[in-house]
Amino acid sequence: MVALSGNLLFIAFLLYLVGTAFFAGSIKDKKAREKDHGPNKWAKIGVAFAIAGFICQLGYFITRWVAAGHAPVSNLFEFTTFFGMCLVGAFIVIYFVYKLPALGLFTLPVALLLIGYAAMFPRDITPLVPSLQSNWLHIHVTTAALGQAILAISFVAGLIYLIKAVDHTKKTKEAIWLEVVLFGVVCTLGFIIISSVFGATGYKSEFHWIDNNNVEETLEYHLPALVGPHEGEHLTPDKFSPLVETPGIINAQKLNTVLWSLFTGTIIYLLFRLIARKRITLALQPLTKRVNLDLVDEVGYRSVLIGFPVFTLGALIFAMIWAQIAWSRFWGWDPKEVWALITWLFYAAYLHLRLSKGWHGKKSAWLGVIGFIIIMFNLIVVNLVIAGLHSYAGS
């Protein structure tokens, strides 16, 4: 069952990949461009692949649920893949409302990156610690992920809007920031590539060090150590020795991973620039040629409108119900809770700015992008760095 489940996820990944290619084809298709009447053949095949992939991933989810005996949303790997699945699901629904192939072309890669990112973390089926043994937890996590996924559509819509609407031939602030956002996406790819490469070779080096609380700890690196722990002792001297030592309050191993991701991301980025001879944004711009800006703007707004109530229900209300049962208080100012509140406040601000201050178009697109950055911050940084009660720390 576990093996079947893993295979289904892998197939889903491949189907999304093929789907992306078809969506790209639908936009390049010259004939279709002329008559411009509904989605062309390519887009229809693309969405078929997306649906097939979604069904496969649903299969992964169900089989893993059966194998584990609990909903597979209890560690970073499971949660992030589920998030990716919800994103594809949200896309499929919105696609049938607005029939926008460009949305598929940009959403599927984001889902692919999420699943790829998730796969870099331990994939074992973990038994649940007592506080997690509650149905409310599963209800809370799945609804929250669904809400975030719907909200994430506004990021994709915002990205498409900005790629098309901003003049990328000039060095405006807007153009540069958008390139920075895409560079961040490339670094995620960098993280996945470099982790997979060294993961495949089974690279491992170990350090002993005394942490801030005077506790002796062992750090295990799966990437060559560019930075080592404070006064650490290298236990595997045959492996690459660190160039620099970090101060005691920094977790050297996590910093090392960040550095490698940045490093790999930069190389990919430079290679791209070398081959394409232009910025990513400029290279992507032709793909958004047929996009109706007003329509994308509206897709972004509607996904926030639809996602906001779902997010409120899942990430705040259900979370409070569960916290009340598990920890005797519905709110504890744990970092993860606070960041859910921040996300919620942010989207509330988005809605007010849009409705009452007339923030449409570019401004609203940027808000969609920033909102997603906050969601990702909560998923990645808060889980891995600002460890609290909720963090899937250790995974």
């Binding site: 074992d124 089926i125 007592p130 509206e298 229900l313 208080r329 504890g332 606070v338 921040i342 201050k357």
Partner: protein, 548 residues
């Protein structure tokens, strides 16, 4: 005081009205030059846009501004984020002193964080003030808008003024001669099919649907206010109880805050971990990789209620209410209280046994067991041997004067001063006994207290909780959800069709989701011979209005 505005159509509008509530005619000169009217609150007279003289006007206008509201939200958001940079004081180890902990752990940044009070951010006066301001803003901005909006939507006429229709975002004018008569009927059919409510007057049509969605934001704001009030009520005495109850196995204690009415007995604390061979195979690798993973924290308890009157000094008479297996996620509830499995301590010392022994011959004259929570003063044996417990230090250490003291009442490191009586020493020999050490302060003794063994027990920590604000919070949350769904999943749409001379004017308005409205309009007018309204905002540069 209030001068009213009478429109040409005869309707009397409140002072400050921009578009006549009834016919929609533009009443304010400067608005007439605009290509599109601002439809946000139907051009109604909002207090904040009309008065700005007294101090109350100024405060009202300040808090009713969305700009201010959003600014408050953004400041709260940023402040909240700062609070997560380092852990809050409640999450640092309880034994640590915050004034040194932050500097110790996080260096200079930690010191700054502590000095500025960020370590207790969420209960700081300024954070609470921010939340309170959001609350005030919510109330004022909602009142400012909802009344005029309600009036305007209620008073609206079917055949609205030409200038009103012409300045709508979706608009078209068709010459009547080119239209077949029955196409009007068809249009009405289609509008009904799309669930529009249709009103007709003088050959004009107003098709409207989902007006209720306009109240969504106000309902959700009411929900938020109820939630905030619920949060404030926690500080009212009697509404909220938060106590930690440490209870040892075998112990029966009164439950705090129940006015001595309820007692709890701890039979046993159970800690289970996942074991590789006993769990489903799916978990095997995870258990191997992660080591021990806790499976269950459980306290088996009995809840008692005091029955009848108790005489002072006498043990209360208890009546069992129920036996319960108290686990994480499965609190024990009674009346307004709930008990939660919060924490535990394994293997706390409970009893220590000694034998009164002759140092040289090792002959034993008797054994005694000391209950470390409730030691006896004296232990008597046969043949004239006895031991007096002169002093007891449950959590012993030497203070700076090398005097024995106790750090707490928990028997973490018990120490005793015994006086040992025997026929040979009727005045007794004094001995100081601690774990792994014996001191004989008055010289060599003949007798000693030989250590025989210890007994341990587990201690369970339970949270005693009463929270009478929960129903209020739940109602607030529910109302918020209803309001937010109402405002987000439905849109208020209107289509006006007016015959004017030889022309048919058509206009459409929605508060959001124009794409949906346009699709409906296309369907409704398809094949009717009436020109489909076009989006005039596509041509205007000044398409999106702003509000102060």
């Amino acid at each position: 005081m209030m001068k009213q505005v009478k429109c040409e159509c005869g309707h009397v509008n409140p002072h400050g009205t921009v578009l006549c509530e009834s016919c929609g005619r533009v009443l304010v000169e400067e608005e007439k030059s605009k290509k599109l009217v601002d439809m946000r609150y139907e051009g109604s007279a909002r207090r904040s846009q009309t008065y700005n003289k007294t101090i109350i006007d100024k405060i009202w206008n300040f808090f009713s501004s969305v700009k201010v509201g959003v600014t408050l939200i953004i400041i709260t958001l940023a402040a909240s984020a700062i609070g997560t940079i380092f852990p809050q004081e409640m999450y640092i180890p309880p034994t640590e002193n915050a004034s040194v902990y932050y500097e110790d752990q996080y260096g200079f940044a930690g010191e700054v964080y502590y000095t500025l009070g960020f370590h207790n951010l969420y209960s700081s006066w300024w954070y609470l003030l921010l939340i309170a301001s959001i609350g005030v803003s919510l109330v004022i901005c909602s009142l400012d808008r909802v009344v005029p909006l309600y009036r305007a939507l209620k008073k609206q006429r079917v055949d609205r003024h030409e200038g009103f229709l012409r300045r709508q975002r979706l608009y078209s004018a068709t010459t009547l001669a080119s239209i077949e008569e029955d196409s009007f009927e068809k249009i009405k059919e289609k509008l009904k099919e799309k669930r529009y409510n249709i009103r007709e007057e003088n050959g004009s049509i107003l098709a409207e649907k989902n007006r209720f969605s306009r109240w969504g934001p106000y309902i959700n704001h009411i929900g938020l206010i109820i939630f905030l009030i619920g949060g404030m009520l926690r500080f009212v005495p009697g509404m909220y109880v938060d106590e930690l109850l440490w209870i040892r196995e075998g112990e029966t204690v009164v439950i705090p805050e129940t006015k001595g009415e309820y007692y709890l007995e701890n039979h046993e604390f159970i800690l289970e971990t996942y074991e590789k061979d006993k769990e489903s195979e799916a978990f095997t690798t995870a258990i191997e990789n992660n080591g021990t993973v806790a499976k269950n924290f459980q306290t088996n308890v009995s809840l008692y209620k005091e029955s009848g009157e108790t005489i002072a000094g006498q043990d209360p008479e208890l009546e069992k209410v129920e036996d319960y297996e108290l686990r994480v996620n499965e609190p024990l509830k009674f009346e307004q209280f709930a008990l939660y499995q919060q924490s535990y301590k394994l293997g706390e010392l409970s009893e220590m046994s000694f034998a009164l022994t002759n140092k040289e011959t090792n002959e034993e004259f008797g054994q005694m067991t000391i209950d470390l929570h409730n030691p006896q003063d004296e232990y008597t044996f046969e043949n004239g041997y006895s031991v007096e417990l002169m002093s007891y230090f449950p959590d012993f250490e030497f203070d700076e004067n090398s005097e024995p003291v106790t750090k707490s009442r928990v028997p973490n490191n018990p120490a005793f001063i015994f006086k040992m009586f025997s026929p040979e020493h009727p005045d007794g020999e004094v001995s100081f006994v601690a774990i792994q050490q014996t001191i004989e302060p008055y010289g060599d003794n003949d007798l000693k207290m030989a250590f025989k063994g210890v007994d341990t027990q587990n201690v369970s920590a339970l949270t005693v909780r009463k929270d009478l604000t929960l129903p209020i919070l739940a109602i607030g949350g529910l109302i918020f959800m209803i309001g937010v769904v109402q405002g987000a999943y439905w849109n208020h749409r209107r289509i006006w069709i007016r015959r004017l001379g030889d022309q048919v004017l058509v206009a459409g308005h929605t508060n959001k989701n124009w794409h949906g409205l346009k699709r409906e309009i296309t369907h409704v007018f398809d094949g009717s011979g009436i020109q489909e309204p076009i989006d005039q905002s596509d041509e205007t540069t000044n398409k999106k209005g702003k509000e102060e």
